[in-house]
Symmetry: C2
Subunit: 201 residues, 2 copies
DNA sequence: AAACTAATTGTACGATCGTTCGTACAACTT
DNA sequence: AAGTTGTACGAACGATCGTACAATTAGTTT
């Protein structure tokens, strides 16, 4: 009746697959999804190259699976915790703080996974770019709707654009210059912009 | 008396070197500085692989030279034109507009060169990262000082942080989603933030 | 014209890339 | 117990990577 796997072989397979994708996302956040090589991944995990390859069938499929795995981690770490707050200012604040914490505590060693891979794939065609663009759109939409749930805000799309810009800037500065101050600056920027937007005329 | 090269051989060498670096920067803005391979570069330029290699002696040196060449293009296209305006609000506006035009008109086919390579190298050690970080610092400083030349602005560092965030966000969105609207949003964000900062109490 | 110098080329190298294939072994089914 | 399925492995493939070095071409100096 239940969907629980009873086959110990596929259970074991899914576990190694999870381990592979976890490590793959970590590497990709530092070296990019192209810098992520199957041989190196296998070496670090101490499994065979062909074993890793067999799980995905192609490098592109590995990259796509890595993006999906990273998205799941992102949702669990950033999106879900904000949902405990009711829609409104409180949820938005929780969302912004959650994102900055996600970046600052280095959930991925190279900072935000999607910042890294977005910049890597934004200018080339292909399924990987499409997947990344899709998640980016989802994130934009979610932030915009979270902002739009605050009745005083006149232009949620514009506000969402600016807020996301602050987050990514903090991540970029922090990683490149090893400067935790960037997060303070982003927090101040978010606070200021939200205050401005909610100060109805 | 003059420092003009009279040797036709080194003259020719410097010209091919310039061509190599121009193409290298174009490729790197799309594929990254690692995706930039000597063999491919040679193929596209229809010269020999060893000919390209001989100009730099190592891949890392080619990458460093490419970053320097891109920085020179950036300065000529963004920084210099703003210097015709006297320090103050006019220069800042010119600088912001110049940057957005530089990104929008695809001076580099992959959008802003430095956005691409920053995200690629921000998390790994090495001379290339150091060079990129150095230029990024210079750019931050220059924007901050341009803002600071406007007497009404209380916290130039904070304002510069936010303005640069808008620029990079516009570039990222535009390239990833093929959405020219992002530049309008960035222009609106810059206008609004500058207006807020110059509205003295 | 000969000697020299700088830019460019051709050939070759070891390493690593993604990928393919046949095999070994554990776990499940009958 | 015999047969089937799924995961993981080792070895090898052609291609490409960065790099090395000797030969060649073009331009300068004597």
């Amino acid at each position: 009746m239940d969907g629980v796997k009873v086959d110990g072989r596929v259970e074991r397979g899914e576990q190694t697959r999870r381990q592979i994708l976890r490590r793959a996302a970590e590497i990709a956040s530092v070296e990019g999804l192209e810098g992520l090589s199957i041989g190196r991944l296998a070496g670090e995990l101490e499994v065979s190259k062909s074993g890793v390859f067999a799980h995905f069938g192609s490098k592109e499929e590995l990259q796509l699976a890595t993006v999906r795995a990273a998205a799941a981690i992102f949702v669990r770490q950033v999106v879900d915790p904000a949902l405990v707050e009711p829609p409104g200012l409180g949820r938005l604040t929780r969302l912004m703080d959650g994102w900055l914490a996600y970046s600052q505590n280095r959930t991925f060693p190279g900072g935000c996974f999607f910042y890294a891979v977005q910049a890597e794939f934004d200018a080339r065609p292909g399924r990987v770019r499409d997947a990344i663009a899709g998640y980016a759109r989802e994130w934009n939409t979610y932030v915009r709707e979270t902002v739009a749930a605050i009745p005083e805000v006149a232009d949620p799309e514009q506000v969402a654009f600016e807020l996301i810009a602050f987050l990514e800037m903090a991540n970029a500065q922090s990683v490149l210059h090893d400067d935790p101050h960037a997060y303070d600056r982003a927090r101040a920027a978010v606070r200021n912009r939200v205050a401005q937007a909610t100060a109805a005329a």
